[in-house]
Assembly symmetry: C2
Homo-oligomer: 188 residues x 2
DNA sequence: TACGATTAAATCGTACACTATTTAATCGTA
DNA sequence: TACGATTAAATAGTGTACGATTTAATCGTA
């Protein structure tokens, strides 16, 4: 019994005694003509977009957790390993570009991976500013066990691959749009 | 220049034009023909599902951030306020059920909202274990400013409402599936 | 009705994530 | 070629998340 799933919420929101409970003043920004059938609360509506995104991310990560834990990895660490399994040695900056993470997040994370013996951290000779992250043999070997994870997650979720694919496509579009937003400091 | 967008990655990973958004490298998960060598990297493929979810959540939250900051709210705090604006007084447990968060996360967050003067924290008379969170007049008043947020976010993202709707539907399905997974301790 | 089990919050410890700042190396150009 | 600007990591501080444990109140039932 992990989540009571709102069952006990019913009594709370049933008797919506609260007078100014939504829906009245919210109509004001809807340019409504005669149609009153849309007393849509923009705040309740909106919650679905960002809220669903955040909760979905947390929920799916929690599906990974028990699978990653025996490998000694957190989910962010797993993502870093995925990047490294694909592109052998990478600088911190490059990992950050791939994963959309920055140095304050990656620095301690990479130190943990290093002390777990999965990667090495070496300054570049070319450019002493750059820290080169490279897989150790152990780190490389871990890849084999990791290949079992994706099918296990898909199986547990019980959602069609095709559906996941189209979800990913939609998410990619959102990511692109969101990144463009904060790359545009000029507006507003 | 927020994200250097991989320009220096090109030497590392060939001509993958835009790795962080790559939709095409997950080319065939279809079992194609007689070739059993299946060149599809399940790890690269997989990264798209969870990875896209996590990055999308972070990216969209970062669109909210500059809008919420003048209101003095973080995004999780905004979600709690949304719950409260809808259902006047709630216990910590009820907020947690609505937002899929637990006490270790909510306790300090609610103390911050209280010290910001937006909510009150009172033990229930019915059941001294329950902590009742209630909006203050200031907390209630903040709702008006909050109504401007959703349209601003949608406008900035520049994505059709209908598209966001169907995304939300897909996400809800994923959330449901993921929650059912960790409600099922029996299997495996 | 007493007492073990359950429940609601809080607390502790660890690990991200983000803003702002700092440090050190490299670059551009006068 | 010297020197200010830029860049790559790291650090400091705040705020979630989550597992595990603790504390206090309530419940169930013998």
């Amino acid at each position: 019994m992990v989540s009571p799933t709102m069952s006990e919420m019913t009594n709370v929101q049933e008797n919506a005694s609260d007078p100014q409970l939504s829906t009245q003043d919210s109509r004001s920004l809807a340019s409504n003509g005669a149609d009153t059938s849309a007393p849509v609360d923009p705040l309740a509506l909106e919650r679905q977009v960002c809220f669903a995104l955040v909760v979905a991310a947390r929920s799916v990560v929690s599906v990974y957790r028990p699978l990653l834990e025996p490998m000694g990895l957190t989910h962010p660490q797993y993502l870093v390993m995925l990047a490294l399994w694909e592109h052998s040695p990478l600088s911190v900056r490059e990992i950050g570009a791939l994963l959309q993470l920055d140095s304050p997040t990656l620095s301690p994370l990479l130190k943990r991976l290093a002390s777990a013996g999965l990667v090495t951290r070496t300054r570049s000779n070319d450019d002493e500013r750059r820290l080169i992250i490279e897989l150790t043999p152990e780190g490389r070997a871990l890849r084999e066990r990791a290949t079992l994870i994706p099918p296990a997650v898909v199986a547990r979720l019980g959602i069609e691959i095709s559906e996941l694919e189209s979800l990913r496509t939609a998410l990619t579009k959102v990511i692109k749009a969101a990144l463009e937003v904060d790359e545009t400091p000029g507006e507003r």
